[in-house]
């Protein structure tokens, strides 16, 4: 059974239709890349999946692990194993990174009917996972993302991902603003978390990330629609030719 299934999804923000009928199926273990130019609706898609309330689904359905995702509040989605790595991770003054992560992990465990994690076990877990993205341990005690560099914020997102072990991870432009070394670290981290039971949706503007995280499927999103799907070759073609040739096509099709 598919882990995530979008059927004819239409989404509006403040009365403007951003997504205009998306169909997408993600099976367990698959990595999907969603590419598109600025303003194509990529981040809207990520936001709707994570449960941001200012987005209105005007038509269509989203099924996740056999449930109607749109019926679930953001925190329930997270507890059911859906994770969004933010394009702009938020600074939370006064809340330490570990405190936050432990509260999140315990909320997820409690939802599953498991006991809260013991302080020592949590520390051990955190020490292990922090290595996944080579994050400096000093950032664990600091307030969440406060004073972190851009690269540290993105790595911290992947660190959270590693600790929370979601079934579906959506990475919203995690590659933006990263230099090549940081990009490799993030990609290595994600690759180490690939698992037959875990799926990824990578949202990106650039093909570059996909050199390091090789997707099973690539979808091109333009003006709120998936105009083309393929494999990694499609991403390489986009790198060579840009998005323009795809943008023109639907118009030509319409006039034909």
């Amino acid at each position: 059974m598919a882990l995530l299934e979008l059927t004819n999804l239409h989404v509006s923000v403040d009365g403007n239709e951003i997504l205009k009928g998306i169909d997408l199926t993600v099976n367990p273990g698959e990595v999907h890349a969603i590419m598109g130019p600025n303003g194509s609706g990529k981040s809207t898609l990520a936001s709707v999946l994570a449960g941001r309330e200012e987005y209105e689904v005007t038509a269509g359905e989203i099924h996740y692990a056999g449930q109607d995702l749109l019926e679930l509040d953001a925190e329930i989605r997270a507890r059911e194993g859906l994770f969004l790595a933010f394009q702009y991770p938020v600074e939370i003054p006064g809340v330490s990174n570990t405190y936050f992560l432990r509260a999140a992990l315990n909320a997820i465990r409690s939802h599953r009917g498991e006991e809260e994690i013991d302080a020592m076990d949590f520390l051990a877990l955190v020490r292990e996972k922090v290595k996944v993205v080579k994050l400096d341990e000093s950032l664990l005690k600091r307030p969440v993302n406060e004073g972190f560099s851009g690269g540290e914020k993105k790595r911290n997102e992947i660190f959270h991902l590693a600790v929370l072990e979601p079934r579906l991870a959506i990475l919203d432009e995690t590659d933006s603003g990263l230099d090549i070394d940081a990009l490799k670290i993030v990609a290595d981290g994600v690759n180490s978390l690939r698992d037959p039971e875990r799926s990824f949706v990578l949202i990106t503007h650039y093909q570059r990330l996909l050199n390091y995280i090789v997707p099973d499927f690539v979808h091109v999103l333009i003006d709120g629609r998936i105009v083309r799907s393929g494999d990694r070759e499609l991403a390489l073609q986009l790198e060579d030719q840009g998005y323009e040739w795809l943008e023109v096509e639907p118009a030509q099709a319409a006039s034909a």
């Binding site: 449960g51 953001a74 997270a78 507890r79 939370i92 006064g94 936050f100 909320a107 959270h160």
Partner: protein, 437 residues
């Protein structure tokens, strides 16, 4: 004048009852001066600029009970800080049976004021009534008129006290709506060092009007924590005045949680070069609580620093006032004064009046002030929720973090931990008033 005498009327029985209590001459003199002044001033009203935002309806015309002459035994374990020297006052009356002062180093006085005055302490004679604005402030006058006893701390020159001194003022003992006038005199001589923890607690609709006078000598360091957790129907009107000599340092954390109305008027005079005052505060209001802070810092000498950070969390229909005034005298060059007031509104009906004021008469100074009033960052709430933390917990976590910036400055860990729990519990109650969870 007729108006004023009517005002005194409601308090007449309490004033008469206190006048009948035996007291050392110093205290009796203060009572007389206080009573005369209060008869002239009367209770303030909203037509007075300083009292424009302070609603005194809850005490106007009310008749409050007088303190019991002998303080009853009350279990103080909920507030007890384990290694502190403890003085307990019930409705302003010293309760020796439940106090634990312990052996003191030579020359150090930690006692009740009556003992300080009768033992002929120079410090009491010199400083009691020297700083409190008895002639101008109605509640400083009322406190003085009602003075029965108080706390007296005298740290001699060069003495460093490592154990904190804890003053617990319990108002409204036995559920009675009492009128009490807690009084504090702290004299920290040159080069001394001490930590004072002052707590106001209570369980009835009482009226408490504490007055503190704090004299800090050259190079002395005084840490002062003030926690106000009176009953939610109580009225608490406090006046705190202090004077800092050269090279001294005073840091205060003022935590205001209780009271239907809690107002504190603070006056700080930086009276010697390089004196430093850090004045931080946190006020929390819910329901129809009012929390008012009127803070005046006067830089009277050059090269002094004053830093203020006051944070407020208001829910329900709570109202808060922050009046922060910084005065820089003409010869107080190289003054460095910072003032910041930040408020978090958790409901549409909560109101904050924040009025920072600078009055600068010197030309080579650095003064900054700012105030903010806002809601929680929606993006931060969503970020927490997207990681699995529930909506209400996310709001509590972020609000507690906002308060944490002040609470983490509380110097005694045991008390800091307790305050964090108390504030967390209050925030949980605000988030879930019916106790559904």
């Amino acid at each position: 004048m007729t108006q004023a005498s009517t005002d005194t009327g409601a308090f007449a029985s309490a004033l008469d009852a206190v006048a009948g209590l035996p007291a050392p001459e110093l205290l009796q003199d203060l009572r007389t001066r206080g009573r005369e002044s209060f008869a002239t001033l009367g209770l303030p009203n909203r037509r007075q600029e300083d009292w424009r935002f302070t609603g005194l309806k809850g005490i106007e015309g009310e008749v409050f009970a007088s303190p019991a002459a002998v303080a009853p035994r009350i279990d103080v374990t909920p507030w007890r800080v384990s290694n502190a020297r403890l003085l307990v006052f019930v409705d302003g009356i010293f309760a020796p049976d439940i106090s634990e002062i312990g052996d003191l180093p030579d020359g150090v006085v930690v006692s009740n004021l009556v003992l300080g005055a009768t033992s002929g302490s120079e410090a009491v004679a010199q400083h009691l009534g020297s700083l409190a604005p008895l002639e101008e402030h109605p509640f400083a006058a009322l406190n003085s008129a009602l003075i029965a006893d108080g706390a007296f701390i005298h740290v001699p020159a060069g003495m460093e006290l490592d154990r904190p001194i804890q003053l617990v003022f319990i108002s409204g003992s036995g559920g009675r709506a009492t009128l009490s006038a807690p009084r504090i005199l702290i004299v920290a001589e040159n080069g001394s060092r001490a930590t004072v923890l002052e707590q106001h607690v209570g369980d009835s609709a009482s009226l408490s009007c504490p007055v503190s006078e704090i004299v800090i000598g050259e190079g002395a360091v005084l840490n002062h924590l003030i926690v106000q957790e009176e009953n939610l129907s109580a009225h608490h009107l406090a006046v705190r005045e202090m004077k800092l000599a050269a090279d001294s340092r005073y840091s205060a954390q003022s935590i205001s949680l209780g009271g239907a109305l809690a107002r504190t008027d603070i006056g700080v005079v930086l009276d010697g070069e390089r004196a430093e005052a850090s004045l931080d505060g946190l006020y929390l209001g819910d329901g129809s609580q009012q929390a008012n802070t009127h803070l005046t810092v006067r830089h009277a000498s050059p090269n002094c620093n004053s830093h203020q950070l006051y944070k407020g969390i208001l829910a329900g229909r709570a109202k808060a006032v922050f009046n922060g005034r910084i005065i820089v005298d003409q010869d107080a060059q190289k003054t460095d004064a910072k003032q910041s007031n930040r408020n978090l509104l958790l409901s549409d009906d909560a109101v904050v009046n924040s009025n920072p004021q600078l009055e600068i008469f010197a030309d080579d100074v650095r003064c900054t002030h700012g105030s903010t009033v806002g809601q929680l960052d929606e993006e931060a709430v969503f970020y927490l929720r997207s990681r699995g933390i529930g909506h209400d917990e996310a709001i509590q976590l972020l609000t507690l973090a906002f308060a944490g910036e002040i609470l983490e400055r509380v110097p005694v860990i045991e008390l800091r931990d307790r305050l964090e729990r108390v504030v967390a519990a209050r925030l949980a109650a605000i988030a879930d008033p019916e106790g559904k969870k």
